[in-house]
């Protein structure tokens, strides 16, 4: 029986080693190689990593981290009350109301991204509304092709990832703790800050990671909604593998992103435990 059960897991593990482990290993090796005449030449040097430290890439990296952190922070501020409402305040139709928040996750993020072009564009809905209300004389240009547009769309796309884990933790929270604190005279605000929020930290951390990881690696959203000043590291990596055929440099950047994600996740985990609920 044991050997049969072991056999069950072998194919998937094998698959992941071949199609995830091997590619990542190759990327790690390539990151120390270089290109000459459009051919990839083996070797060992840190040149790609040194190149990645140039101003333009450092700024892009910094911008990527800022956009990702800002996206995560906004998603948390917007999503927490939603999760709290669903878990502690709603009496009827709770699952249906939860489904309403999660449903957009299952629609194409390409569509959810380009829809913002219709809303934020020069002739988009927001500008049309502002101008017809007399609030703007000319279309506001920074709405689209900007960091603002990228952040807004990323919050929109990944918000359900924040709500779900926080909801799962809050839903299991023992209501008697809140009652007891209330009976002992704590104000609702104090109850929230000293009981509810600390106990929900595993959900907050999980949600933050679920938003942060894809935001750091975002590529479609900045490609479509970002201007030159909202380029993210994902776009730079995509260029190395798409247009310029600089696999070794792209590999180094990809590894740096993985390292960055690992650091951010580790920092987040220090703040609380992960919860897959």
């Amino acid at each position: 029986m044991r050997s049969f059960d072991n056999a069950l897991v072998v194919p998937a593990i094998f698959w992941l080693i071949v199609f995830l482990g091997a590619p990542l290993g190759l990327v790690a090796v390539y990151s120390f190689w270089h290109t000459a005449n459009y051919a990839i030449v083996p070797g060992f040097n840190w040149a790609n990593y040194a190149h990645a430290m140039h101003d333009v890439y450092l700024w892009t990296g910094l911008r990527t981290v800022l956009i990702a952190l800002q996206t995560t922070a906004i998603a948390l501020l917007v999503g927490y009350p939603v999760a709290y409402y669903l878990a502690r305040s709603v009496k009827r139709f709770r699952l249906a109301l939860l489904m309403l928040v999660i449903a957009p996750l299952w629609t194409s993020y390409l569509v959810r991204t380009f829809a913002w072009m219709l809303i934020l564009g020069r002739n988009g809905l927001v500008n049309a509304a502002l101008m017809s209300a007399g609030l703007a004389a000319a279309p506001i240009e920074w709405l689209l092709y900007s960091k603002f547009a990228v952040t807004l769309a990323l919050v929109h796309i990944y918000l359900p990832f924040m709500v779900l884990p926080i909801y799962a933790v809050l839903e299991k929270l023992d209501g008697r703790l809140i009652e007891a604190a209330g009976d002992l005279g704590a104000s609702p605000w104090r109850i929230f800050l000293t009981i509810v929020l600390p106990l929900s930290m595993p959900g907050v951390v999980t949600g933050a990671i679920f938003v942060l990881v894809p935001a750091v690696g975002a590529f479609v959203t900045p490609e479509l909604l970002g201007g030159p000043d909202a380029n993210m590291i994902g776009n730079v990596i995509a260029d190395q593998f798409g247009g310029t055929f600089e696999y070794p440099f792209g590999s180094a950047l990809a590894l740096l992103v993985i390292a960055l994600v690992a650091v951010l996740v580790a920092v987040a985990l220090r703040r609380g435990r992960l919860s897959f609920a």
Binding site: L8, I13, L16, F19, Y30, P104, F114, N123, G217
Partner: protein
């Protein structure tokens, strides 16, 4: 001090505001897809289905749809064939090793899709392999497999191990146990996982961006069309993909809801919980 009822009302208002924010872009796309005008700006002139009719005659779009369906079905089949045995094996193993196996299968979720795409591209390139729908499918298994494992692992948490013991005591072999007890009990979860994996593959553009050869999937076609700006036809296509994904997800949710309990007999369930 604010009363509990006032706080609840504020939270409810916030909830509906956020739901409106989540749905607004989708509504806008659908609205413009039904607008008779050539350009996607207000005001809406007249409602018309002509952009949908145009889509139905667009050979590029129909061909890409076919490709997307082939890739999604293949990716789902492979992910389920790999993911279901892994989830079952890991669950039976239990303990730290079982958790580690599940964790390993979830690893691709922790790596941005962009990097999954470029690293697989690097491997295929080193092997001189042609990019085709097969390479896209390979990439999609990396996206789908973790979700299949996640859904099945959650479902298995409620699995009563005494069912296995009983079957083995009665002389069932491991294959018979798997085939007549475990898989039938997991069937709803497998269906749900397959449907969710389908939408993930059907909607992916990032992995496909790097692994597509000559044959385009539907999101890649949308991506290419976007270069010429947002046309009403594109809105119609987007609206249809929203519909497909939404229906698939709804079907998945209903399948899971209809199979609440995993125990074979009500009495068994009572004593085990």
């Amino acid at each position: 001090m604010i009363s509990a009822r006032a706080a609840s009302a504020v939270l409810a208002a916030w909830y509906w505001l956020v739901v409106a924010f989540l749905f607004a872009p989708l509504v806008v796309v659908v609205l413009f897809s039904l607008n008779d005008a050539e350009v996607s700006i207000l005001p809406i002139r007249a409602l018309s289905g002509r952009w949908y009719a145009m889509l139905m005659k667009d050979q590029t779009v129909l061909h890409a749809l076919g490709n997307s369906l082939i890739v999604a079905v293949a990716a789902v089949v492979v992910s389920v064939l790999l993911g279901a045995p892994l989830a079952i094996g890991a669950h039976r193993h239990g303990g730290k090793v079982g958790r580690a196996l599940v964790g390993f299968a979830l690893a691709p979720m922790m790596i941005p899709a962009l990097i999954l795409g470029v690293s697989l591209l690097t491997l295929l390139n080193a092997l001189n392999a042609q990019l085709s729908l097969v390479s896209v499918t390979l990439g999609h298994t990396l996206i789908c497999l973790p979700y299949v494992v996640l859904v099945l692992d959650a479902r298995l948490a409620g699995y009563d191990p005494r069912l296995d013991e009983a079957a083995l005591d009665l002389g069932a072999g491991p294959l018979m146990l798997l085939w007549t007890i475990t898989l039938p009990l997991l069937a709803p979860a497998i269906t749900a996982a397959a449907l969710l994996a389908f939408t993930l593959s059907f909607d992916d553009v990032v992995v496909a961006f790097f692994l597509t050869g000559r044959e385009n999937t539907l999101p890649m076609t949308i991506w290419a069309m976007l270069r010429y700006g947002i046309t009403p036809e594109l809105n119609a296509l987007a609206a249809l993909t929203i519909l497909v994904s939404a229906l698939t997800a709804l079907l998945a949710e209903m399948t899971l809801r209809n199979a609440r309990s995993i125990s074979a007999h009500p009495n068994l369930k009572e004593t085990s919980s």
